[in-house]
């Protein structure tokens, strides 16, 4: 079947099998910044933004995004680059497998709540697992990034 949607600002048509999940559709179509960590809505590595909302692409049928706007980290390159500088300063990046999804979630948080408290940051990011870092450093980086203080 055909699904038309907007991907990172461009209208695209994907040919998908019924029952195909967005994560698989994106990766088969070459969008490899979206990662598969668990395929069970439990790790956050596959996060994309659908109409601005963080969405686990491993558990969304591609057919259901007909006509919607999907954003992957490709559409927030500058922001991701800036955020990564805060991550670097805090020692918050390691293997990077969780990074692109985190950048998207932080982008969505910023849109929703530009000046969150630390607790709000932790709550918003809680579904994005990271096995490498001590997590605190990532929270610090996001807090400083959103607070605008370097």
């Amino acid at each position: 079947m055909e699904v038309k949607f907007n991907l990172n600002g461009l209208d695209v048509v994907y040919h998908v099998k019924p029952g195909e999940y967005l994560l698989d559709s994106l990766r088969t179509n070459g969008v490899k910044s979206v990662k598969k960590g668990c395929n069970a809505s439990a790790c956050g590595a596959c996060t994309v933004l659908v109409d601005g909302k963080p969405t686990l692409s491993c558990s969304v049928l591609t057919a259901s995004i007909e006509g919607k706007k999907v954003m992957t980290v490709e559409s927030i390159q500058e922001e991701a680059a800036q955020l990564s500088e805060y991550f670097a300063k805090e020692g918050a990046d390691q293997c990077g497998y969780c990074s692109a999804a985190l950048a998207l979630v932080v982008h969505a948080l910023k849109e929703e709540n530009p000046h969150p408290t630390r607790q709000e940051i932790n709550d918003y990011l809680v579904g994005n697992l990271c096995r490498c870092t001590g997590l605190q450093s990532q929270g610090n980086a996001v807090e400083k990034y959103l607070g605008g203080k370097k």
Binding site: K32, S33, K35, K36, G37, C38, N39, A40, S41, A42, C43, A45, T72, V73, E74, Q77, A80, A81, L83, S84, E85, F87, A88, K89, E90, G91, A92, D93, Q94, C95, G96, Y97, C98, S99, A100, L102, A103, N122, D123, L125, V126, L129, C130, R131, C132, T133, G134, L135, Q136, S137, Q138, G139
Partner: protein
């Protein structure tokens, strides 16, 4: 000794951090060739069974199936999946496919098809006739059990490791210094206790992944999420009977390893499918396979007897351990030995020490390498016992540690006795700031105010616990790394290293070392690592070897390059070598000067043209341990026994921190992973041996919700044998949380929990039993 560093020991962003956050796609599965055949593995539903026959005829008829591999059509060569040096200290007890399935999930067949759906459909049509056997699921009953897990012919050890498969023994070990029984008799205080630790899952975010293709020379090219590409090439070559020169292994970016990727997982299947079909293939483990069918930590039972005299000196330690290696003996002996060799030397005032026991096979998923590698299990037991001893003696547990632990310029006889499955190497602690780490950590946690406990509200108490730890820095004389540096036009450097970056940041660390030595900046250093065709050899990322071994390698190569550049410049300027100064950009000799850029251009294009390049190697003669003192504060609910981490303080001596932020990341990441093992990471099997905790919703790793404040400091220390004074830091962070939490629980409730993870239920049970 110490000098003012410009690049090393300064904050340097990891060189790939930005690109990865921007989504650059360089992980293994991102690089699979389009239209790769998809490989799915048929896995045993039985914990132990003999495979009488496999019928693939119906499966082969499914359109789109390209190839099915079973025991009937693959090479039958015993090997070990452990990515270790040669000859491996692990038994060769694994076949690509075998007549037996030894755990629920053991591989029985591989199906390669044009799509995942077709592979799965075909898999259902494979008929396997199993003779179900009685499994061994309790590792305390494995030794000499009537069910023999490895009855097959042809399996063997590479050198004596105590391998005795007829008794379900993968390995065994015994050592004694002095006479423990005699010394214990002279002690005024003796404590004895037993501790159990579980089969923790690595749970790295990127699953085990590999893919294969043939290149234009029809050579096999394997991309793999491996920690040991060179070992992988060697083992693949021997097992498949394919010459080394026909195989190339490439490790792209890796999404975390923690030891779990120091092994073969899907690679043999990919290689065989591609060799047979001439088509690219890929094998990506599902999360359920990562949990249930890759590796876990070795579960252990450790029994300790520790004796001390009235003056507070620990005189003897007797440590018996039993380790469950699961279905295969990967890393069986070496993990076991680390329980002793990287924990017991901490208490080096003893007159006698004994360590030994068995590593048994069971019908559980295979245990393998896992960050900490035995040290975390040993640390949980030993550091809990030290608190028990202190309690019995009426002494502050920190004071007892201060009195008895390792100091600078001291040694332990254990170093010489215990090595990597063989004898070890004697060494003196040239750098050991453990006393400082303990003192500083005590201040930071405010021990004197908080120990042992404080009521902080109705049903709420806060308590503190502490532990100390050590690890190693590579395996002396065995672990080797190498590095090639060549000069580019423009005056930048191309550095190729075998060292394996699995997310810990070794590429960045190496770039810093090269930049420091050549007085340049990290952006002038291009790094390419871990490709068996293009980079020189390195043993790989394990045993806390990368900073020390690969770092020293890079340092050697960079200083050789420096010498070489000065020689070339002297020749060009027609002056004596001894008169040339080099500041990273300019060579000067008296009035004459020459830029690095001009030298590079000249040598590549103009006069006496040649490539300026050097290759150097390094192996350690010692394995200087990093040390750590850790202190945790927790808040307990005295009614529900639920708890949370308030604060975790660590002070680490890892010599110079080459990259302070990456070092902090290693320590903190280790602590949180260790805290997961201590607190929530519960492994559950049903009574048939089937693993039930197979995804993140049921196997709970620490999330942002439960991490307390981490205070991470480093001691001012310089290891004279390390690169710019550095030691390793990759593993030590994980070692302390089980003991720290266990001790804090004791300080809160007066009970000791002898099983990991320390769940509220277990605390409740211990409290109830005491009453």
């Amino acid at each position: 000794m110490k000098k003012n560093f410009r690049v090393v020991n300064n904050v340097t962003p990891s060189i790939d951090g930005k690109g990865l956050m921007q989504g650059r796609s360089f992980y293994t599965d991102d690089l699979a060739q389009q239209n790769s055949l998809v490989i799915k593995l048929l896995r045993s539903p039985h914990a132990f069974a003999r495979i009488k026959s496999i019928d693939v005829s119906e499966a082969e008829k499914v359109p789109g199936v390209a190839c099915i591999l079973t025991k009937d059509n693959v090479p039958h060569v015993p090997f070990t999946r452990a990515g270790q040096g040669y000859p491996e200290p692990s038994p060769h007890d694994k076949f690509i496919f075998d007549d037996y399935a030894r755990y629920v999930g053991d591989e029985v067949a591989a199906v390669a098809a044009v799509s995942e759906e077709i592979a799965l459909e075909a898999m259902k049509k494979i008929k396997v006739d199993y003779e179900v056997l009685e499994p061994v699921l309790d590792f305390e009953k494995a030794y000499e059990n009537k069910s023999v897990i490895h009855p097959e012919e042809g399996i063997h050890e590479m050198f004596p490791i105590g391998f005795d498969p007829k008794k379900n023994l993968a390995a065994s070990y015994e050592m004694e210094v002095g006479n423990v029984d005699e010394e214990l008799k002279k002690c005024d205080y003796i404590v004895e206790d037993t501790f159990y630790s579980q089969a923790q899952a690595h749970a790295m975010l990127e699953p085990h992944t590999c893919n294969a293709r043939l290149d234009e020379h029809n050579r096999l090219v394997v991309y793999s999420t491996t920690q040991t590409p060179f070992h992988m090439r060697r083992i693949m070559s021997k097992t498949l009977g394919l010459p080394v020169e026909k195989i190339r292994v490439i490790k792209p970016r890796v999404g975390g390893g923690f030891g779990g990727k120091q092994a073969f997982h899907g690679e043999m299947f990919c290689a065989l499918v591609t060799l047979r079909t001439k088509k690219p293939s890929k094998c990506v483990f599902t999360r359920e396979e990562v949990f249930g069918c890759s590796y876990t930590r070795h579960p252990m039972k450790i029994t300790l007897k520790v004796g001390a005299t009235k003056d507070g000196i620990i005189q003897a330690i007797d440590c018996r351990a039993l380790s469950d290696t699961g279905a295969y003996g990967e890393h069986a002996l070496t993990v076991f030995m680390i329980v002793g060799s990287k924990v017991l030397p901490l208490y080096n005032k003893v007159k006698a020490v004994k360590f030994g026991g068995h590593v048994v096979y069971t019908n559980h998923v295979s245990a393998g390498a896992y960050r900490g590698y035995g040290a975390i299990q040993g640390n949980y037991a030993v550091e809990s016992m030290i608190d028990e001893l202190a309690e019995k003696m009426g002494m502050d547990p920190i004071k007892l540690r201060e009195l008895n632990s390792m100091k600078e310029k001291e040694t332990s006889p254990i170093f010489e006795i215990m090595g990597e499955g063989t004898e070890g190497t004697a060494m003196i602690m040239e750098s050991c700031k453990l006393p400082y780490c303990i003192k500083r950590g005590r201040e930071l946690i405010e021990w004197d105010k908080k120990w042992p406990r404080k009521e902080v509200g109705p049903h709420k108490v806060r308590s503190v616990g502490c532990a100390i730890a050590m690890q190693g820095s590579g395996i002396p004389f065995l672990d080797m790394g190498s590095c090639t540096i060549k000069l580019n036009d423009g005056g930048s450097y191309m550095v190729t290293v075998g060292a394996t970056d699995i997310g810990q940041g070794s590429d960045t660390m190496i770039a810093q070392i090269v930049a420091e030595e050549l007085q340049t900046t990290v952006d002038k250093v291009i790094i390419y690592s871990s490709d068996t065709d293009l980079t020189p050899y390195d043993c790989g990322a394990y045993a806390s070897s990368t900073t020390y071994v690969s770092g020293n390698t890079a340092w050697n190569a960079a200083s050789k390059m420096r010498e070489r550049l000065v020689k070339e410049a002297a020749e060009y300027m027609n002056v004596k070598v001894g008169t040339v100064e080099f500041d990273g950009k300019m060579f000067t000799s008296g009035e004459k000067s020459l830029s690095l850029e001009d030298l590079a251009t000249n040598r590549l294009y103009n006069q006496d043209t040649r490539q300026i390049a050097v290759t150097e190697s390094f192996h350690g003669h010692v394995s200087p341990p990093p040390f750590m003192a850790a202190f945790g504060e927790f808040e307990f609910d005295t009614e529900t026994f639920e708890y949370k981490m308030i604060k975790y303080v660590t002070v680490t001596d890892c010599g110079t921190t080459i990259n302070p932020m990456l070092a902090k990341g290693q320590v903190e990441g280790g602590i949180i992973q260790g805290y997961g093992m201590a607190s929530t990471e519960e492994v559950i099997y049903n009574d048939k041996g089937k693993l039930l905790t197979t995804n993140f919703d049921v196997y709970h790793i620490p999330t942002r919700a439960e991490v307390g404040e981490l205070v991470t400091e480093f001691a001012d220390s310089y290891e004279p044998t390390g690169p710019f004074g550095a030691k390793s830091v990759g593993e030590i962070g994980i070692d302390t949380p089980p003991a720290v939490l266990c001790n804090a629980v004791y300080n809160a409730f007066g009970v000791r929990v002898h099983h990991l993870p320390i769940t509220p239920e277990r605390i409740f049970k211990a409290v109830k039993e005491r009453k």
